[in-house]
């Protein structure tokens, strides 16, 4: 009985495991995937810098950094966030262009 249940279980699992192999072939790294990854990374970077701006504002409010340092840091993070947004825009344009060409 135990052997029969086990065999049925194994058979079911093997069928489930093998099922994707009968689908259409897909490459592991599609160009879209690579672009999507870069977009995602850039989006995260942008969010990180915007969060950093919020944090320095909080740190100024709680007196941890001077007004001078605050201005310097805020400008630095704002510049970085702007760079990330530019890069994001470029990537999105490339993606749109790629789709039109495709």
């Amino acid at each position: 009985m135990a052997v029969a249940v086990f065999c049925a279980l194994m058979l079911g699992l093997l069928v489930l495991t093998a099922a994707p192999l009968f689908g259409p072939r897909e490459a592991l790294v599609a160009a879209d995937d690579a672009r999507r990854q870069r977009l995602e990374a850039m989006e995260q970077e942008k969010k990180g810098y915007l969060k950093a701006i919020k944090d320095v504002e909080f740190e100024r409010a709680t007196g941890k950094i001077s007004e001078e340092d605050f201005q310097e840091l805020r400008e630095f993070y704002a510049l970085k966030a702007a760079e990330a947004m530019d890069a994001l825009e470029r990537l999105e344009q490339e993606a749109r262009g790629g789709r039109r060409r495709g």
Binding site: V3, L9, L13, P20, D33, Q37, A41, A61, S66
Partner: protein, 650 residues
């Protein structure tokens, strides 16, 4: 059920190997279909490992003593609760538990990523998980099989070690294992990031919840282990620097370091090599911890005896460590970040300094733990270094760590100016000095205790200052009441304040450890009925003696009246228990615990003429260790509560 369990375990091994083959084929052929099949194969491992685990649990509950493992750790008289948890009382069940939980975690990772498209990193993540699973399942199938039968059916089992028949022991091993196992996930992502060259902070972001959750489990496991040692072993302490205690503490230290520097990589994109090294170290140390408790290579209260598992673990550890080092060296060009720290007076620097101290603690503890092995290799004799070594080396390091815990939140990111430092340090420093002065006035003279309490006051003051200032700023901006503003600051910045809560928990633990170790009172006496002993402000009077049967044990209990200033304030029952199938009686601790101190009583002896021998201790502030542990866990949980995802407009 024996056959089903055994077959399931072998099936799980086959599926983990199949998963590896499918995933590698997917990479080699650059074909996503094979990767998907590999993922499904991993889900198959989870199903089969669950089958094997359910089978073992069933065998325990049905007293299937023909199974060697069940016969060794259970008997008919064992309460059902302990029968179920005897699953992980020994080596074989613990390893099955490891494999089972890791297979479930792997399936959970697959489930959580079901909406994410598979990237180049995907097969490598699952390859690491499948490889680790294959290792543990191989041990179970080929070296230490929990379904091995005796060839006959004994009338009864040998029973569970009485010391393990304690609620603390029910939860301590699995929580510790959950911590160990959980770190496999971030390690797998780190390996995938290095192999595919995606060394930005995205692997850290993706695995942040796993990191903190594993750290929480490790913390709970360590605290519960300490609690079990305190209430069950009867020597009056909670931490003996036992090799297995250390084995859980070392990865806790490295993972704590990693959690801190991961924040820096997330925010600044620096310290990539450091973070890769830390997660590799943490994973290897988690495996090492499992090896230490399961190999019998070092003497420990957890020792399961030498088993021949050691060689396999050492090979796995060596392969992982060398493979990890190779990957870090290979990706060094991508991991190396220019710029690094801008100022030594910055939060990044304090994080780095805290890392150095945490790693120094980890190294010292590791060195002391494996010293018997080193000494045996060099001199032929196992020389054990005891608690004095660990206390001497680690106490000053802990104090420095405590100081940094206080300093860190006061310093801003990137760089801090002397004027800001003066302003932010002033109040906490004054609070610490006042606390220190008050302690001296109260008669505290022990140098370490004085420093520890003063620093604890400093850290607590920094946390309070940080919170009060933030609430004040919010009130100024929003006009909210203090209560609402306080709640919102806590909730909206829960990652930050979760961290502060963890630090507050650490402060409470330091208070508990310092109080109970520096000001402990102990005495021992033999009393006839009606006699009393005195300790501190307490009088303990031997009033009665009871004998009764409960579950699987005969209990001999001395009833002790607790008096303070002539007034009876309570009663303690100090017990000696004789368990069915146990050769030795056990001593059960009688405990009266308050926020100020613990009254701790054990009865090591019962005389023939009715007199009893009592060992009594007063442990000041000890309860704060458990409360602090709870606060730490609460802080960790607060820090990983996810924020509600903002819905984008279509």
């Amino acid at each position: 059920m024996v056959t089903f369990g055994n077959l399931s375990q072998f099936g799980a091994l086959a599926f983990s190997l199949l998963a590896m083959v499918l995933l590698v084929t997917g990479v080699v052929r650059n074909d996503l279909r094979w990767v998907r099949a590999g993922k499904r194969s991993l889900v198959g491992v989870a199903v089969l490992a669950t089958g094997a685990s359910v089978a073992l649990g069933y065998l325990f509950l049905t007293d299937a003593f023909q199974v060697e493992y069940v016969a060794s750790y259970s008997d008919r008289a064992l309460p059902v609760f302990y029968k179920a948890t005897a699953f992980w009382a020994g080596q074989k069940g613990s390893l099955l538990f490891w494999a089972w939980v890791l297979s479930l975690f792997s399936a959970l990772v697959i489930h959580n990523n079901r909406r994410e498209p598979d990237t180049r990193a995907t097969p490598y993540v699952y390859l690491v998980l499948a490889g680790t699973l294959a290792f543990f399942l191989f041990l179970l199938c080929a070296v230490t099989n929990p379904f091995e039968t005796l060839g006959f059916v004994p009338r009864d089992g040998q029973g569970l070690n009485p010391m393990l028949q304690n609620p603390g022991m029910v939860f301590h091993p699995p929580t510790l294992f959950l911590g160990y196992i959980g770190f496999t996930i971030p390690f797998a992502y780190a390996v995938a990031a290095m192999v595919t060259g995606s060394t930005d902070a995205s692997w850290i972001r993706k695995t942040r919840a796993w990191n903190v959750l594993s750290w929480i489990f490790l913390t709970v496991g360590i605290i519960l282990g300490g609690q079990w040692a305190y209430v069950e072993l009867g020597w009056g302490g909670y931490w003996a620097w036992d090799p297995v205690e250390n084995a859980s503490f070392i990865p806790w230290l490295t993972s704590t370091a990693f959690i801190h520097t991961a924040i820096i990589q997330e925010r600044r994109g620096i310290m990539k090599v450091w973070n890769m090294s830390l997660i590799l170290l943490t994973f290897v140390l988690c495996i090492f911890g499992t090896y230490l408790v399961r190999s019998g290579v070092l003497q420990s209260v957890h020792d399961f005896g030498a088993t021949g598992l050691g060689g396999y673990f050492l090979v796995f550890i060596a392969v992982t460590l060398l493979g990890g080092i190779y990957l870090i060296a290979e990706s060094y060009g991508e991991l190396k970040t220019p710029g690094a720290l801008e100022s030594y007076l910055s939060r990044e620097s304090t994080f780095l300094f805290n890392n150095v101290i945490l790693l120094a603690l980890a190294f010292a503890t590791f060195f002391g733990t494996v010293f018997p092995l080193i000494s045996e290799a060099v001199t032929g004799n196992k020389v054990t270094v005891g608690p004095p070594f660990f206390n001497m080396v680690n106490t000053p390091l802990f104090l420095v760590l405590l100081l940094i815990t206080g300093v860190c939140p006061l310093i801003g990111w990137r760089k801090a100016s002397p004027a800001n430092l003066r302003r932010n340090f002033l109040r906490p420093a004054v609070a610490a000095l006042v606390a220190g002065g008050a302690l001296v006035a109260l008669g505290v003279r022990e140098p370490y205790a004085l420093v520890a309490f003063t620093l604890a006051g400093f850290v607590a003051a920094t946390i309070v200052q940080e919170f009060v200032t933030a609430v004040g700023s919010r009130r100024k901006l929003t006009g909210e009441s203090s209560l609402i503003a306080g709640f919102r600051v806590l909730w909206r910045m829960r990652r930050r304040y979760g961290g502060h809560l963890v630090h507050l928990g650490l402060v409470l633990i330091v208070v508990g450890i310092t109080g109970s170790s520096a000001y402990k009172l102990e005495t021992q006496a033999t009393l006839a009925r009606g006699e009393a002993l005195h300790i501190g402000r307490y009088e303990l009077k031997y009033e009665d003696f009871k004998t009764y049967q409960k579950f699987n044990r005969t209990v001999y209990a001395a009833v002790l009246g607790v008096y303070n200033g002539g007034e009876r304030i309570g009663q303690l029952d100090a017990e000696r228990r004789y368990y069915v199938n146990a050769r030795q009686p056990t001593t059960e601790v009688a405990l009266r615990s308050t926020l100020v101190e613990d009254l701790y009583v054990t009865m090591p002896g019962i005389g023939r003429t009715g007199e009893i021998t009592l060992k009594v201790a007063v442990n000041p502030l000890l309860i704060w260790i458990w409360i602090g542990g709870g606060v730490m866990v609460l802080g960790g949980v607060l820090a990983i509560i996810p924020s509600r995802k903002k819905r984008r407009a279509p």
